[in-house]
């Protein structure tokens, strides 16, 4: 068990690309922390530095109370699950899982017992004598999990472990991994670019963009108080609507002259960005805002109305039992629906 701390950690690759700007944060013991962000934002880089697979350009990483900068990956007491599982193709499932233990000098009987225990936990018992090539993708994924579990590490590192699975299996494994991590109480870092995975699994989410941390917070904080337009549009599906608007005399006015209710600007004046989640607004004849709907998208439990608000793209989610048609309609906000960001930097206002 261990907490993980990054202190001003920076990564510049030999080709000069800065993959991670100096970053500082702590993951408390036993938490599952999700690193999320678009492709190429530096998630894997950060994880690989913690694993010791990549040099740390500047700063310090500690696991527990040890600074691990100069410690070999094998000595960091971590376990990693790779996107393509990275199983040893020439070893049976049992040997795959036991290999790390063998190298720590554990005796055969003990290894076999641990492997069997993990295999039972993951429903892998009948596959212990098979090679990875004789397993399905989901089973390989489990073996990779098993290999991580048997080591009883201080820290689990997951790099997009579910992205090679089909949607159904992914949902199931997501829940299993979460439950397993809870049960074992092992600190974990989990990389994904899937924001649903991030929201459902995380105790804490770190949103990365272009090599810097946009926001750190619980899933709820990230959803309720996105720190920037980037976080606002990246986290949440369907994504938050972002509208250009003007603030003056304490009021926020859209391009079509409609005033956005609830928007309190605290003396800020000039161009702002208004953020409203599609699920935070609903059709209402007395509403203050006008939407010109041109497309209706059926999603089963709800439908999405896509259209224009003051000349800018806007979407609304309505429950499936609510009538919807194309053309002009009035919309009213639910409480606390408006997020305001400054127009240049995209930082949250208030």
């Amino acid at each position: 068990m261990a907490q993980v701390t990054l202190n001003q950690v920076r990564k510049v690759y030999p080709n000069g690309a800065e993959a991670l700007e100096p970053s500082t944060f702590t993951i408390p013991d036993g938490e599952l922390c999700v690193l999320v962000g678009p492709s190429g934002c530096g998630k894997s880089t950060m994880l690989r530095m913690v694993a010791g697979l990549e040099d740390i350009t500047e700063g310090e990483i500690s696991i527990g109370d040890r600074i691990v900068n100069d410690i070999d990956p094998a000595d960091r007491n971590i376990a990693m699950v790779f996107q393509n599982y990275a199983l040893y193709p020439h070893m049976t499932v049992a040997r795959n899982m036991g290999y790390g233990l063998k190298n720590r000098g554990m005796d055969k009987g003990q290894i076999a017992a641990k492997v069997r225990e993990a295999a039972e936990m993951l429903n892998l018992t009948e596959f212990l004598d098979r090679r990875p090539s004789q397993l399905s993708g989901g089973q390989r994924q489990r073996v990779a999990m098993g290999r991580a579990i048997v080591r009883e590490p201080d820290l689990f590192l997951f790099d997009e472990p579910l992205s090679n699975l089909d949607a159904k299996l992914r949902n199931q494994m997501r829940i299993e991994i979460r439950a397993l991590q809870r049960r074992l109480g092992t600190t974990a870092m989990y990389v994904t670019h899937d924001q649903v995975e991030a929201m459902t699994m995380a105790d804490r989410i770190i949103v990365l963009s272009n090599g810097h941390i946009e926001q750190i917070g619980t899933p709820n904080e990230i959803y309720e108080h996105p720190a920037s337009t980037f976080v606002a549009s990246f986290m949440g599906a369907p994504p938050m609507n972002l509208l250009e608007a003007d603030a003056a005399q304490g009021r926020v006015t859209l391009k079509n002259g409609e005033v956005v209710p609830q928007a309190s600007v605290n003396g800020h004046a000039g161009a702002v960005t208004v953020g409203i989640r599609p699920e935070d607004i609903m059709p209402s004849p007395q509403g203050d805002l006008t939407l010109d709907v041109d497309i209706i998208e059926e999603l089963g439990a709800q439908r999405l109305l896509h259209g224009q608000m003051g000349g800018q793209a806007f979407s609304v989610a309505v429950p499936k039992d609510q009538e919807a048609s194309t053309g002009e309609m009035r919309l009213a906000l639910k409480p606390n629906a408006v997020h305001l960001f400054d127009a240049d930097q995209g930082r949250r206002l208030g």
Partner: protein, 293 residues
């Protein structure tokens, strides 16, 4: 796959004909001729030949110089195969780790591949030359007098050294691409599972290279047996004397120098059988070669 339908059996045969003719003229006909002449004895000028049954073969088994050549060929093949494989593997493992200037390094190593065997032999002759050879002088500085073409084991070492040197690039290319085919994440997983680089090599890298290694083993045995002819020929300067000779070179010496076509043919037939066995081994094992994916 889509099956093409031919109306008549004649058409596919017609398409295959050029290939079949070439194989028949250049492979089967000489082979059949060798088998046939291995049962005959010819006079010195090749005018008359008499059927002698298996005498050419029994004569081989009894001939000390043939048995010597056989023994030497075994030693030669084992050493050349062993050293060219291990040195190439070592170089490939090192090259695989090189990040900066990797291309240059690899190209330099591969150049040797483009050198024809007799030229390699000539370079060997120059290096081991009695009076001017760099290696001869180098050894002389340790007080060892290296006598190529005179001392049996000196000549043998030169043959082995040049043959190994010539074969390393081929093995290197195969080993390197074999190494690069091992997924990076598998190596990284091993890095987390095992602190010792040496034991990682034996536990992970080596087994994953085994299919490549086995393929190269067969290729190298064949090379040592047959393709070293040019090297040996230049090194012994076409003067076999009491120099070490491989079986293939003996076929040439006995047949074309000694004029013993019957005995030479019998030796060829023995070699053909050897190749046949190697081929069968190769197919049986390579076909079953495990594809780890």
């Amino acid at each position: 796959m889509k099956r093409a339908a031919f109306g008549h059996i004649g058409f596919p045969i017609l398409l295959l004909l050029p290939q079949l003719v070439i194989i028949a003229i250049f492979f089967y006909w000489p082979a059949a001729y060798a088998v046939q002449s291995s049962f005959y004895a010819q006079d010195m000028f090749g005018f008359t030949s008499t059927f002698v049954g298996l005498e050419n073969y029994t004569r081989l088994a009894g001939a000390t110089n043939y048995v010597n050549a056989l023994n030497f060929t075994v030693i030669f093949t084992v050493l050349v195969t062993f050293f060219s494989l291990t040195i190439a593997l070592l170089l490939a493992v090192k090259a695989d780790k090189v990040i900066r200037g990797a291309k240059t390094y690899r190209t330099l190593l591969m150049w040797v591949y483009a050198i024809a065997p007799p030229v390699a032999g000539l370079i060997g002759v120059m290096l081991f030359d009695q009076s001017r050879g760099n290696l001869t002088q180098f050894l002389a500085s340790f007080g060892y007098e290296f006598r190529l073409g005179v001392n049996y084991w000196d000549t043998a070492s030169a043959m082995i050294a040049v043959s190994v040197w010539k074969q390393i690039p081929v093995n290197f290319i195969f080993f390197l691409s074999g190494l690069q085919a091992i997924p990076r994440s598998v190596r990284e997983a091993a890095l987390i599972d095992n602190r010792s680089g040496t034991s990682r090599f034996w536990d992970i890298t080596f087994p994953l290279l085994a299919p490549t290694g086995f393929f190269l083993l067969i290729i190298n045995i064949t090379y040592s047996l047959f393709d070293t002819f040019g090297i040996i020929d230049t090194l012994v300067k076409s003067e076999p004397g009491n120099n070490p000779l491989t079986l293939v070179y003996r076929v040439y010496v006995d047949g074309f120098r000694g004029g013993d076509l019957g005995g030479s043919s019998a030796q060829s037939v023995v070699l053909m059988i050897l190749v046949l066995i190697l081929t069968i081994v190769q197919f049986r094992f390579l076909e079953r070669r495990i594809h780890y994916t």
